[in-house]
Symmetry: D4
Subunit: 164 residues, 8 copies
């Protein structure tokens, strides 16, 4: 019952700390769309603490199941602290350290604040979506089949990759 | 139905690339035990490729739902490539770079190989387990309630932390 | 008038994300005590978001003027976002990267979230306190005189440092 | 009385070690202008030690209250050693290490030489200005109100940031 | 006898984890061509584990003697685990860390998994080929003479490099 | 014929730039001894250029086939420049950067100076020896069989590594 | 007497390991020309060991007094080992690590091999020349006066650097 | 004439920014003593700017010829700016980054402020002294002969370093 009701609601929320991160996070949205998984994205600028907390609660109330968060600021930690949903993190390539600062700030969370962190930038955004798919596939046969098909396509696509 | 059958089987596999990693990964096992989530650990030394592949298939066949993998070698990538289960990674503090090499090798997987990476060492092992709990809580009311209770205890435990 | 009322209240709040940081932050407290500046310290564990927000509001209501925050987690960002008081940050030496991760996460705040960051560890804790002193000295002649005397002592203390 | 006299004088000095840093530090000047805070900028090339010392003394004599210093060379340390005013530092993106060298040289001052360091580059310049504003807001109601208004605008500006 | 039969077969296999690495690895192929050493290149995308294992076995069966592998993913480790042929590695310049992540992941293999690693990018690709040449030169007089001639040319080519 | 004559002479030279590196490089010697491969070690301190060059020529004249070189100084580059034998490098853990400086100096050789670099420290020393074994195994059936046996033992040794 | 004879000969040798480094090292040559100090530059490609050793001996025989060496390879170490002249080093910005590898390889020489290292790239090349000037100024009054004049010009040049 | 007068005065000044650096810098003093070169050491704590400037002028007036400076703070830059004597720098191993911060702050001086930087810690201190010796050897036959003898001893000392 529960599973059914939930599938109606968006399942994955993509949370950015700044509009420009959409350039990177679009890759996550595209993968989710390919898998026909409903999702929503929003920008939660880091100076609006109350709004961030309210949005997280709304996500939970609306039945979202997984949050993907990008950015360099304190947003991932706050999300991990304020929800019991799985939180996946995508570090954004920064100008100064090419994302190493975002990566380290995100992945090195202290005990009790888990953020499953993926690679910096677009590859990480795509992988965050695929990770979300693998979670949803645990209890949804359709998604599981789509994931297996995707994997087989991925594998086949390289079978004749002999260079000229 | 499916959910029920699965709860009988171990739900989380902890895979290490070397026996000495148990010192770190025990923290994951302890958290899972606290939450009464059945799990199993094994060492899959990186020179035994066939055995690794067989073990991954066994995990899937036995109904494991989440894999937590530690180590510095190529094990996390191979797992991510060979299963559709969610793979969480815990970098192990190395002698040379205090784990930065393991972290970067694990988190910077290319597109198509998602490994949700947690912090280096014990904090990361504990958080990997908590992340696994948050996944299982999505479809298991008992675990969800335990996770909420854990969070409240965590919060309360610091409420009177005023220093002398 | 305002200044007087304020001097009654504690002027500096030292906020830690974990009890063990006191070992480092004690250096800040000692300097403030030397300058006879009232201050208070507390631990705001990062999983207790509401409590953190309430404590920040309390600091403001009680007339605190400067916050010194330590830690590796998202606490410094949240403070900078939720108060208009000056926020000074002290990165804590971590096990994995000797504090480089805490430093980078703290100092690389995005535009709009200023955290004035000092050196990693004890030297940084002492300097955060001295920085707070220099702010209070701007409008308090007594503190200014104490700061000048401190500086002269510091200088004199090395005047005969010729090695044997 | 004192406060009033001081408000007439420039309140913030922006000190650069090289003309090209103005490109970065202009962001600080713009914020200060927005808050209607009088300020002045100058270049103190690092080979002119006497001139640097004289300029710092002049800043103090003229009633400047906060110094913001940029650059990679030894300038921030010298300022911190030679004044009791609060010194804020903005690391400049270098060609070789994208500013990591400037950052580390600036933030890792030894005990007794506090430089409150902000992020590398433009974001850091803006945040240094905002930090200066938060110091001045402690004793100036007008600036405090402007800061609160600025914060609210910042927050509101993202309230309808839902992506298409 | 054995040596003769083997010289008929391709002697060096160049294995990439992604088509775009050819841009870098072409430098290896060109050197091998210059030395008239038969070689073959293929792309073994990291999601196709079975295909990778099969290809490695094929290389051995066909009498390949040395494998040169590029990439950032887990491919080098898997090769080192699955073959007794010498495996040379060329880290590919990544977008995020300019190849430092690939380098560290490749060179820091645990005991039992030797990957002889060369420099990041094109220089490394050329040197991997030269290293392979030096191995083959151990038992092939013709190649040894070509290598000595190459070295002498290299040396002579700089003899009149006096700048204007 | 050639192969036979050569097997009489030591086959692998282990070259250190400082006596203290023996602590690390002993691991290479032990592996070579296990495989019954004759080898010799010497210290070539970096200030004795002529002696280094003479020793390299002696190695070639005596029929050595592979050189393993350790150290942080310029020794690996000089060897790679002065011999056509394959040169394997083992970075030594330094006090300042835990070997990262040695690693980068060794692996980032310019085009034309190939040094096949292994991991920092003991694991790298062992792997350098195993790499040398894999080269010798190409043309020596006995060594090849020993290497295969070693690999199978390595794999079997982990087969029942189920943790208690 | 000795001093006089020597002033006739070129005093500074600029040694590069690759023609493309001239782009960076030209800055050193220009400064030396400004100070009217005779100097010569040459490229000593790292595969021509004998030629390198001969050139170093020639430099000494011809009365050169200071060597400035650039590059990423083993050249600086070899020079420091083979001459008793002061050797100044200029790390060249590499493609992979922006010169950090060259810097670390050059500056972290072991005890007994001193290379006085300057900054990466053009600033370092100019400073190497200025350092050479400061050595020659120790025993040459004319150069000393020129250096003092240069310093005063440098200082004056920034005296009216007040920004618009 | 000038040379003679100067040889009476101490020739090398060792300047530390903190008493604890003597532990490292003693290695420089020992080498200078071995070469019978008069030298003096002092601690110039970084908060005593006027005293630092006066000491530098005194060094020049007393005929010191080379300054060796250690430390992490702004001292090396200030020396390079305030004297025309050659300034050699020895980075001190810091607690946080094992000296990488000191190294980078020292070596990456901007154009016009040359500090010839040696390795971090004791090896660097010894090499700074040897570099100073090589400068003094340019115009002092006795020192030159001692340096050549030292080099020969260094070389001979490793001639029978064949390991057991």
């Amino acid at each position: 019952m529960e599973t059914d009701r939930r599938r109606m609601a968006p399942q994955v929320g993509i949370v950015m700390s700044c509009r420009s991160e959409w350039e990177t996070m679009r890759a996550a949205s595209e993968i989710l769309t390919d898998f026909d998984i409903s999702h929503e994205q929003c920008v939660l600028a880091p100076y609006a603490v109350e709004r961030i907390l309210k949005q997280i609660s709304d996500f939970e109330a609306q039945g979202f199941r997984i949050l993907i968060v990008s950015g360099a600021a304190y947003l991932p930690g706050l999300l991990a602290a304020h929800t019991t949903l799985p939180v996946l993190g995508v570090p954004i390539p920064s100008r100064s350290f090419r994302g190493l600062d975002s990566l380290v700030a995100m992945v090195q969370m202290p005990r009790g604040l888990p953020v499953g962190t993926l690679a910096i930038g677009e590859a990480g955004a795509a992988n965050a979506a695929l990770f979300a798919v693998s979670i949803l596939a645990l209890t949804d046969r359709t998604i599981r089949e789509r994931l297996q098909a995707f994997r087989e396509r991925q594998t086949r696509s390289v079978l004749d990759d002999r260079l000229p």
